[in-house]
């Protein structure tokens, strides 16, 4: 009888030991949500000043490039953004001010600020292949709020070691059924995101290029979003970016929009 108990204990110890050994291997890799949290951490910024060019290329090969400077700041009441076009010449000076709810526009040729009521925030970002949601997720808002991540595995993508995540939207009204994201293990930036729609069709593909360290942070100097449905793509090139700036709330006012900085 005692012998039997000894056996029992030994077996238990063995099983527990084996289980912990096996699970050590599993827990050595971070979970999907840990990876995604790291991504958000790497990309989020309290405040940011950036100038970038946006090139739209249609399926039939027509192109249009615009350059704009953007100031953005995270606020408890919602994020704020001010943008001003630098080129081409005929739209230079056109400004946009956006907060959580509203959008104001300044047209220099008209010489005044008008409020714009539109459902633009549901749609594409300034006519590009990125939606406002895409833009926010890649910027200040991050992905964790909108998605639940699970780790699918590890892959080598374009010579970089990556974690492959599957992101399922938390909210019903998402544009996508799910996302696949390849996260660089070194710098925690997404190298590639595939946006999936109904019937597992790839709607859009985002790729990031030319990763550089600026002010101690890793930044993708180029992002390319391809719309697989329309065949068009948008290329975003960062010209200058700075995170070490203090942005006053007063900057995000219609006054600044009209008069300039």
């Amino acid at each position: 009888m005692q012998n039997f108990s000894v056996w029992k204990v030994t077996l238990l110890v063995l099983v527990v030991g084996l289980l912990s050994f096996v699970s050590y291997g599993v827990w050595a890799a971070p979970s999907g949500s840990e990876v995604l949290a790291n991504v958000d951490q790497a990309m989020k910024a309290e405040s940011k000043v950036m100038s970038q060019t946006m090139t739209l290329i249609t399926a039939s090969g027509q192109q249009r490039t615009r350059e704009l400077q953007m100031w953005s700041k995270q606020n408890p009441s919602g994020d704020q953004m001010l943008a001003r076009f630098l080129a081409p010449a005929d739209v230079r000076g056109t400004g946009i001010l956006m907060n959580a709810e509203d959008m104001w526009l300044y047209l220099p040729a008209l010489g005044r600020v008008r409020r714009v009521a539109s459902h633009a925030k549901k749609g594409s970002f300034m006519g590009s292949d990125l939606s406002y949601d895409d833009m926010e997720q890649l910027g200040s808002k991050g992905f964790c709020q909108d998605f639940e991540a699970s780790l699918l595995g590890e892959e080598v993508l374009e010579g970089a070691d990556t974690y492959l995540l599957q992101l399922r939207p938390v909210n019903e009204d998402s544009d996508y059924l799910y996302l696949k994201m390849w996260v660089d293990r070194q710098v925690w930036l997404p190298r590639k995101i595939e946006y999936f729609g109904e019937k597992d069709t790839v709607l859009k593909v985002l790729t990031t290029w030319d990763l550089q360290q600026i002010e101690g942070r890793w930044v993708a100097q180029q992002m390319i979003m391809e719309d697989r449905q329309k065949g068009s793509k948008t290329v975003l090139d960062v010209q200058e970016v700075s995170f070490a700036v203090e942005l006053d709330d007063a900057l995000f006012s219609t006054r600044t929009l009209e008069r300039g900085l």
Binding site: P88, V91, L107, L110, R114, H119, G123, S124
Partner: protein, 769 residues
């Protein structure tokens, strides 16, 4: 010819095996033959109009639209608007549908004291009467929507479904039709537009042929049965034409060609014409057997004599169809080639299969005595009546040749005077009867809205230049004033609206901005809010190309031609001072150039077939007089056909255009028969008058039978549900009758008159001497 006949008669089983083998091979490919009604398929792929059209589609998104109209006693009720929303959403789900514009989906640009709104025209559907009345007033008062999205009378609304350029419009139309059928209120929904028409056309055409083709077969079988009253008399010509249809469709399958509204009648043509060869051979065979010859000898004699006549008739028919290769319309070319091939097959198979079977039969049965003597007697009785009539006709023609000619001339002049009234039409909408579903929808959309087909005017130049935009605006205004189109829209309308909206919605500012910067900045504003492609459907990304769209009220060829003349005039008027390039395009442009190509193709193919038939006839008849007379008669027949079409208001379209080539290829046979028989009689020592009299009496009988069988086949088309097929059937019938009657009256009368005049001249000479 001799070698071929000998081979067939020596190795009949081998001949049959070859025919059977080839038939099986061709039959394998028959199921591959599809059906197309895409207007673009009528054009050669590199046709400039098609290239322009495709370019526009690629640049601006689709240019083919499916229109779904909804009727209700009042559109501005919560119920009606909800229906529109439901249908719009359902249609948007369909794969291949780009965008659906309707009251519930379009964006509105509106100004207010605080700024600008770029929001859906109808956000949440209002439920209370006051809000609905306000909405109604706002929408009906807005020229952008009134008459285009909703009828002025507010009892109908339109949903414009854009077909993605990469999708097959006919397939999308099918899915739209299916989706519409799901709604409980589907009887209030009307679907139209070119893709829908094409889809309905393709389906109904198939159904029509499936219905008519067996009837044609039965009728031909009946004619054969009446004529021969033996199983082989029905079976042999029948099998011949079936083989020719299988080979032809098989060849089309191998070459991956498609049937179209145009060559869908081809099987009917092949059956009607192809059976004739077998008839000639079998009747001669029976005739020889009736004189007491044994089967083998009868076959040899038949093939030696009638074989060459059949060959001659077949060759001219082939030439008539082949003449369509000169057409620049791709499908027309295909029709010509394949029908010519089919006739050739019928000809060759008639000359090989029929004697081969007869030989085998003779070998098996030995020399049987002629069956069914009594029946023959009956036949002779009926034949005697015909002979009597023909003999009388012959007498009249010879003795009263001048009178006959005057009568003929009267008929010809009367018919031909309708020529100036002849019109061309390539509008597929006219392929439907007035009471048919597609026509009802088409007429409803025309009545309540501008129309269901669009004209697209493409402007190449600097589209941010206010001068260019102003010219476009003035052009659009003038175009609208002509009443030929609904309200034309372009980027100009959007810019005007934005200008007004940014100026507190002041209507005084609903004009184009003066400065280039303002234009650029307005465009920027619009592009930032361009979820629905309001801008990208009107303007390319680089601002170097834009389009003006207008719905066309009347898409008949005549109205389209007028519209294009107007566009050209207005282009000269408004765009003279700015450096732009203007190109009108759209499905109706394709339709319009199709009409031009029909006429042009028709003229070339007529000349070509006349020349080739003339050469063939000259070679075979070896007589200048005969060939010139034959051609003269066929020219008149062709003119009578066109003249009658003018009188009857039947347009020359993609189906009726085929009549003249059939008329020439087949109609010439009668003249050939008449003239060759006349030559034979003269050689036998008969006088001109006697020879003509005998010709009309004896050859007349063959011609009457032949005409009867050909007409029987084509007359069935009168029961088609498509007006063009009905016209086609009756016109071919008239042409065949004209050609056969002409060959028995006018032709001998001319020969007789000529002989009389010569005689008199000769007498005069003698007197003078």
């Amino acid at each position: 010819m001799d070698g071929f006949n000998k081979l067939v008669q020596k190795a009949p089983r081998f001949t049959l095996a070859i025919i059977l083998g080839l038939t099986l091979i061709f039959a394998y490919f028959v199921p591959r033959v599809g059906m197309t009604t895409d207007v673009k398929d009528f054009f050669p792929p590199a046709h400039p109009e098609v290239l322009t059209y495709n370019e526009i589609e690629a640049k601006f998104g689709g240019a083919e639209y499916i229109m779904v109209a909804i009727t209700a006693p009042e559109i501005f009720t919560a119920e009606s608007l909800t229906r529109i929303q439901e249908v719009t959403r359902r249609l948007e789900e369909i794969q291949g549908v780009g965008q659906v514009r309707s009251l519930t989906s379009i964006d509105n640009v509106q100004g207010s004291e605080w700024g600008i709104e770029l929001t859906p025209l109808i956000g949440d559907i209002p439920v209370d009467a006051k809000a609905l009345a306000e909405l109604k007033w706002q929408v009906l008062d807005d020229p952008m929507y009134s008459g285009s999205m909703v009828a002025n009378t507010s009892d109908a609304a339109l949903m414009v479904v854009e077909v993605k350029p990469t999708s097959d419009p006919v397939h999308v139309a099918e899915m739209v039709q299916a989706a519409i059928g799901e709604f409980s209120f589907s009887e209030d929904l009307y679907v139209t537009g070119t893709p829908v028409l094409n889809q309905v056309l393709a389906n109904s055409m198939k159904a029509d042929l499936a219905k008519l083709f067996p009837v044609v077969l039965i009728l031909i079988a009946l004619v054969l049965l009446l004529n021969f009253r033996t199983w082989q008399g029905v079976f042999l010509p029948f099998v011949t034409v079936l083989i020719s249809v299988i080979w032809t469709l098989g060849l089309m399958g191998i070459l991956e060609k498609q049937l179209s509204p145009l060559n869908a009648v081809m099987p009917v043509i092949l059956v009607s014409l192809g059976s004739a060869y077998g008839i000639y051979i079998l009747s001669r065979f029976n005739e020889e057997r009736a004189t007491g010859k044994d089967s083998k000898k009868a076959i040899t004699i038949t093939m030696a004599s009638v074989g060459s006549a059949v060959l001659m008739a077949g060759t001219t028919t082939i030439a008539g169809f082949a003449s369509n290769v000169t057409s620049s319309i791709s499908l027309m070319k295909d029709f010509g080639i394949f029908t010519a091939f089919g006739v050739m097959v019928a000809l060759v198979v008639s000359l090989a299969l029929i004697p081969a079977v007869l030989v085998i039969q003779a070998q098996r049965q030995g020399n049987l005595t002629i069956k069914k003597e009594g029946r023959k007697g009956q036949n002779k009785e009926a034949g005697r009546l015909l002979s009597k009539a023909l003999s009388k006709l012959g007498k009249v023609v010879v003795q009263r040749s001048a009178l006959v000619l005057v009568l003929c001339a009267l008929v010809v002049v009367g018919a031909i005077s309708g020529l100036p009234k002849l019109q061309t039409d390539s509008n597929f909408f006219n392929f439907f009867d007035d009471g048919s579903q597609p026509k009802i929808a088409y007429d409803l959309v025309r009545e309540k809205f501008a129309g269901s087909q669009s004209v697209e005017v493409v402007i190449r130049g600097d589209l941010q230049d206010p001068a260019v935009l102003k010219a476009m605006g003035a052009f659009q205004d003038d175009l609208e004033k002509t009443g030929l189109v609904g309200k034309p829209t372009s980027i100009v309308n959007l810019l005007e609206r934005v200008n007004s909206a940014l100026n507190e919605g002041d209507p005084a500012f609903a004009v184009l901005p003066d400065s280039r910067e303002l234009v650029a900045q307005y465009l920027l504003l619009l592009e930032m809010n361009d979820e629905q492609g309001m801008v990208s459907r009107m303007l390319t990304l680089d601002y170097q190309e834009g389009r003006i769209q207008a719905l066309v009220k009347d898409s008949s060829s005549a109205a389209t031609a007028k519209l294009f003349a107007t566009i050209e005039r207005l282009t000269d008027k408004h765009f003279d001072t700015v450096s732009v390039e203007i190109t009108p395009t759209g499905i109706i442009v394709l339709m319009n150039s199709l009409a031009d190509m029909i006429i042009e193709g028709q003229i070339y193919s007529l000349i070509f077939s006349m020349l080739s038939v003339f050469v063939i006839v000259r070679l075979l008849l070896k007589s200048w007089e005969g060939s010139i007379l034959s051609i003269f008669l066929i020219v008149l027949t062709t003119l009578i056909n066109f003249g009658l079409m003018g009188w009857l208001g039947i347009s020359l379209d993609i189906v009726t255009v085929l009549i003249s080539s059939i008329g020439i290829g087949v109609g010439i046979d009668y003249s050939i028969h008449v003239y060759s028989r006349y030559g034979e009689e003269r050689n036998n020592g008969h006088s001109v008058g006697d020879a003509l009299q005998r010709t009309v009496t004896f050859t007349g009988k063959a011609i009457a039978t032949n005409t009867g069988s050909v007409v029987a086949g084509f007359l069935i088309l009168v029961f088609s549900s498509f007006p063009p097929l009905r016209y086609f059937g009756s016109l071919v019938t008239i042409t065949m009758l004209a050609a056969s009657i002409g060959s028995l009256t006018m032709l001998p009368a001319l020969i007789s008159l000529r002989a009389t005049v010569q005689e008199r001249l000769a007498k005069k000479k003698i007197v003078e001497v």
